[in-house]
């Protein structure tokens, strides 16, 4: 089953991952934000570095804020970023 998701990264998460975005195909058991983060972290390198403290990571699925229990699936746009500092 093709489960291509679009990942996008911002601020220091982008810097640590080393890219602004990519298309990934996580395994079939990755159906939630929490599972996606754990899987990504397990990819090592920049991912492990970027995600070592998940309390500092915010997630948006299709441009809406999402908690770890939110579902993710094919064609979703999943954004990972630090707490925002606008305004």
């Amino acid at each position: 089953m093709l489960r291509a998701m679009k990942l996008v990264y911002f601020a220091w998460l982008r810097e640590r991952v080393g890219k602004a975005g990519e298309t990934l195909n996580p395994p079939a058991n990755v159906t939630t934000v929490g599972a996606l983060l754990e899987w990504l972290k397990g990819q090592g390198g920049g991912y492990a570095e970027a995600l070592k403290d998940l309390s500092a990571v915010r997630v948006a699925v299709n441009q809406e804020y999402a908690g770890p229990e939110a579902t993710v699936g094919a064609n979703d746009e999943v954004a990972l970023f630090p707490p925002v500092t606008g305004g």
């Binding site: 220091w12 948006a60 441009q63 804020y65």
Partner: protein, 168 residues
């Protein structure tokens, strides 16, 4: 109305434009956020206090989500308060000390509504709008950390949390 742009804005011009479409308002509240010369909590400019002088600030944002969040926040303010007209402008890109960052205008027949809606919008911009500030100074570059005081300010408006940590 919302605008996300790199260009500067002129508060006087924006106020006149907004007033032209907001008949019957009695009070207009405007918040302008400016790039400070010193990072940190104080503005006394005392270099001994551990704060850092800024050469510039670069604002990154999430195109698409930003516009969506700003439109949602503005719509929520209009639901909560009798606002006749409102405007949010948020800049991104490289900005030097003294430059405008953000403009929030709320116009109402009632000054209390205009004040509250404006403060609500600013509090939510600080904690919900997907912008990130990278400060550059003599000591190098650093991403600005989110402030607990901003979360507390946003919490007082009693909206559902939107910034849940991925660790929850």
């Amino acid at each position: 109305m919302i605008k996300v742009q790199t260009e500067d804005f002129d508060v006087g011009v924006e106020l006149k434009t907004l007033m032209a479409r907001a008949k019957g308002v009695g009070g207009i509240v405007t918040f302008t956020g400016i790039v400070r010369e010193w990072s940190g909590e104080s503005s006394s400019g005392d270099p001994a206090s551990g704060r850092r002088q800024l050469a510039a600030m670069t604002l990154e944002h999430y195109p698409g989500m930003t516009e969506r969040q700003l439109a949602d926040i503005e719509a929520e303010a209009v639901r909560r308060w009798p606002i006749e007209a409102s405007l949010i402008i948020h800049r991104y890109g490289r900005l030097e000390p003294g430059a405008n960052i953000v403009l929030v205008i709320t116009a109402s027949a009632h000054r209390q509504a205009a004040f509250e809606a404006n403060e609500f919008l600013v509090d939510w911009l600080k904690t919900k709008a997907p912008f990130w500030k990278l400060e550059a100074g003599p000591q190098g570059q650093a991403w600005v950390e989110a402030k607990a005081s901003d979360d507390a300010a946003a919490d007082k408006w009693g909206m559902k949390p939107t910034k849940r940590s991925a660790a929850e």
